[in-house]
Symmetry: C2
Subunit: 341 residues, 2 copies
């Protein structure tokens, strides 16, 4: 069998066939980058010692386009996104699995770049990619590469976060500027080119979250406002808690460049996707303490208290605008642009 040409070669259908070619791809590309004692067991499943107490599991499929964007690529995003979904429960993310669906003809150099980014993101987050799968589809039946990651984590004893636990008067915090990811992706889309220095905020938030739940165990709920942005996530939380949410527009952190890009594109930044931000809801009396913990972490320097939960039988999210009025913050039917993550 010919040697894998990682510089100029491409993925072909034999790489998904379960034979020698797939074995070679797995060993040269995936095992090399992800190497850890779990993955290296070489079985179709990875074994690990169960942590004590409660665990969480979360999964996300990543189909972002373009695959490479300012601030990351589909590989780093696939680690950050699932690490964050696990961590939002307050859990410590431990292990990830990764399923790859690759289109025939995909450059091996791009695959290696993506896989290396995943490995780097996993190291930073302190998680192991312990098992995986590779499938190859014919040219025109996919779009380069799709990655599905699943993460499991361990919930600290006594912690039980849920949208249902939100109480009227609870403070709503966001960990930083909103809309950065969505604007960074849109700036690279065909037909939408515009100049911006904005990078995606894609990042693993688990270390900051560990600091947050340790300092303020009274946190009710955390959520990452990805697809659909802050508006969709807050509307989901309003529904789940049976409360309304009242926001102060002037308190919401927003890069001037993101505001400008949204104005240009006719978008509301509240609907634009984030990948390295979280919303946290906690008792009002603990809000300043939580804010200080977030601001002390490099991923939360722009954190802010942006509103509060209120009694509202209609479960509305409303916002006091910088103009002095109040408007409803609705969620859209869909994302403004598909494949933002």
């Amino acid at each position: 069998m010919k040697k894998l040409d990682l510089k100029n070669g491409t993925v072909d259908l034999t790489h998904g066939g379960g034979g020698r070619a797939m074995n070679q791809l797995i060993h040269k590309v995936f095992t090399t980058a992800f190497s850890n004692t779990y993955l290296n067991q070489g079985n179709d499943q990875a074994t690990f010692k169960a942590p004590l107490g409660r665990m969480v599991i979360s999964t996300d499929s990543f189909v972002i386009s373009p695959l490479f964007f300012p601030g990351g690529n589909i590989g780093s995003l696939a680690v950050h996104g699932t690490v964050n979904d696990v961590a939002m429960s307050g859990a410590k993310p431990l292990y990830l699995s990764a399923g790859f669906i690759i289109e025939e003809g995909f450059p091996l150099a791009d695959l290696t770049h993506i896989v290396d980014s995943m490995a780097e993101a996993a190291r930073e987050a302190g998680v192991f990619i312990v098992t995986g799968d590779t499938k190859v589809v014919e040219r025109g039946k996919g779009d380069g590469i799709f990655i599905t990651t699943t993460g499991v984590g361990s919930v600290p004893d006594g912690l039980d976060l849920s949208g249902e636990k939100i109480q009227p008067g609870n403070a709503v915090l966001v960990s930083g500027t909103i809309g950065d990811h969505g604007v960074a992706i849109m700036s690279k889309r065909e037909g939408l080119s515009f100049e911006t220095a904005i990078h995606s905020d894609s990042a693993s938030l688990n270390h900051m979250i560990a600091e947050m739940v340790e300092a303020v165990p009274s946190i009710r709920c955390m959520r990452d406002p990805t697809r659909g942005g802050l508006a969709a996530t807050l509307n989901e939380l309003a529904q789940q808690s049976g409360l309304g949410i009242s926001l102060n527009e002037s308190a919401i952190p927003l890069h001037a460049e993101v505001a400008g890009a949204c104005e240009l594109l006719g978008l509301d930044p509240l609907n634009v996707a984030n990948e390295g931000k979280l919303i946290a809801i906690c008792p009002a009396k603990d809000a300043e303490k939580l804010l200080a913990v977030m601001q002390a972490n490099e991923l939360g320097v722009d954190a802010a208290i942006i509103g509060e939960a209120v009694v509202d039988e209609r479960y509305f999210v409303s916002m006091k605008t910088t103009m002095g009025g109040t408007r409803l913050v609705d969620w859209l039917s869909g994302e403004q642009l598909p494949r933002i993550c």
Copy 2:
């Protein structure tokens, strides 16, 4: 927002956008079919009590074409395949996650059918689908639907199966006829139409495995010979154990119709994919007992002892043929046909 037309409607890009349309699709299609206390928590991750001892995690992406085939569809297959990958370690599968990548325009009736099949397969296997994700890609950037499932399970105390544990003289068993899945799929492929009554063997083997490991805890290793068939799996095990494997062709269970189809297509049944079969390796002295346990289960009635592990520094898999000779059982570079699972 308009009502979902589950009979004549199709998936559109808004269904992957994180807004109201996605929320509606999730509730009408996924939550309804999969309903369980874990999924119904409604968070971005599911929480469960960690079992004591060791756990396993395994993942598979399913890209099978056609989506519907004799004996199943991509939904039932996505449950069976991951349940089996978890169970091959001897573990009891507990929870599954499911990531869906759907092509714009995919019929909602087909999606509902597939999701219902997943729910049914999960009930039969005794596992819960506890969390998931939905992405939609533009027409021509996918192929109907791809599903990635990840499973976690709990390993019975004291059990530690691995290919490395295989010893010279150990018996090699297979749970039934080989090649059924691959032939069933090929019979439906465009350009390959031929008449056959063969159905895919796609099934969850976890209940039979629980009986096997309880009766014969000396089992060294189990593996499901999916992509690449018996030949690829046995070659992997030979490499992992540093031994050779010697097979008896006359002992390998094979439907006459599968043999005929393989002859017609110029294929070796040893290379053809299975989805509801397993290979088990155990000490020779326990082989008859293990065989009896397998044959007593409806999924193992055709089980057979097909060979043994032997000392061979080249790690070759060889086979005594029905003609009286011996031939090498090599694994192919790739699958004969892509997208068999």
